[in-house]
Amino acid sequence: MSIHPTEKVRSDEGHAAPVSESSPVAAPVLSLRGAAVRVGGRTLWSGVDLTVATGEFTAVLGPNGVGKSTLVKVLLGLLPAAAGEVRVLGGAPGAHNGAVGYLPQRRSFDACVRIRGVDVVRLGLDGDQWGIPVPGLGRAKRRAARERVAEVVELVGASGYAHRPIGQCSGGEQQRLLIAQALIRRPQILLLDEPLDSLDLPNQSAIAALLGRICHQEGVSVVMVAHDVNPILHHLDRVVYIAEGGALAGTPAEVITSETLTRLYRTPVEVLRTSGGRLVVVGQPEAPALHSDRHAGHGTGGGHAAGL
């Protein structure tokens, strides 16, 4: 288990070269084998098998309260796995947290927070360093930091409002800035907990598209907890469905079928294919039919689901 392949990706990133084709199969970025977790004496899930390669977009789906966020905590090393093996970047969870970007469950900044978006992004770079920079010293380092902030803000498309107080940005704008903050140290893995929560539909699909782009162009493996699969479905490489006790992982084509989802949710779920070839999940507890219909009508990239 070496991290060299991903090192290469990181150096490629400067040239903005698309690396989606060169995703190595060799060393998985994340691997779970028969993993289980217990919280307060209760087994939340068990038997989770998952392998995520460089530059893959994985969604963790399932009903509320089954332990999706707990999976993220296990990957961060904040909670131990009760059984099985969990490896992150070739080591124990938490051992390589410097190369893991983490976006906690939706936190929004109050309108009265008078700190610019770029400052929040910058804190992601060196906010955990003690002491203050000596004036006059380390000018090159400071310039490099400023350039990195500008670069990552540009990457998420937030240049237009990054210099405004973050409290005055909309929910979608704040989410983009927070993604920039999580990306600023060039992580190899980006863990996001419900990043689309409380965003409106256009913003949900815009953020999903941004994450897909980060994944496939920058070679960052994205693992995202979500409860509505539709906005992200056509960007996904891999899906983990967690339901009570059990879990199912695989490609969307394997997992997202009417039979599997109905069994996992214990309620009738239908997977429909639109005329554009895209999949739409209907009848999921958290995704009312109306919601799915609107999103299906809204989408434009019909070709994405060709591989499903």
Partner: protein, 304 residues
Amino acid sequence: MQLASDAALPVFSWNLLNDFQDMWSYLSMVNAFRAGAIVSVVCAVVGWFMVLRRQTFAGHTLSVAAFPGASLATLAGFSLSLGYFGFCVAAALVVAALGRKGRESGAEESAVTGTVQAFALACGYLFISLYKGLLEGPTAMLFGDFLGITTGQVVILAVVGAAVFAVLAVIGRPLLFASVDPQVAAGRGVPVRLLSTLFLVLLGAATAEASQITGTLLVFALMVIPAATAQQLTARPALSLTLSVLLGLAACWAGLIAAYYQPYPLGFFVTAFAFAGYVLAHLPRLGREVLGRVRTPIATGGVA
């Protein structure tokens, strides 16, 4: 509280050089200006973080703890400085120890803070009533007094202020991170809880300093108003901090000058000058909002 009886009031000449020569010919005034400068700079910086962290209620409680501290010092006859700093820092530790449930539980924290505040005020009242000979004491403790400041007190203020700055210089950046974005900061290994406790102690030290100038009830004149004004004027952290210091210093010294030439209390002048700045800083925004309301139909049309 005022410098002299109204018959002998000095007259402001608009020749600032002469005025300062006049004022600084009294050692007590020199000490007042020195103490004011130290206190306003320390309070502006600590207050900036306090406003950002929205811990103004905690700040107020710690400043109220200065009241029993000062009255107990008077009653028991030990050093006033010890009373101020001891009680404020102790109150900070109590608030930190009782409210250690993380920042999400804002309601719980404010309940704890309120409890401590009520008890502190009650203790202050007890000490005052035990000390029968104290006549003007409570007013000076609650609303400030600047003529009694000794050179020794100034030295203590400077030493504590320097210590506060030294700690802030070390923890400043992680503290900013933990204040703006506690969850991600914790994920990055920033000790958010430790910083929170440490900051409360700094806050206690700063409020103890401010209490000695503006009195315990008016510490916000130096702790909140300059910082809130600066944060209204700019969202750049470094510029905002600098502005906060300058505004606090200006309000404090202008208040001292006014209180020297007018027979009215210092606390009022400092607060009034700071408040005027705050209102001025908000005028452009209020103006924009009024204009925006008039133009609303056009604006939304443009966005859509």
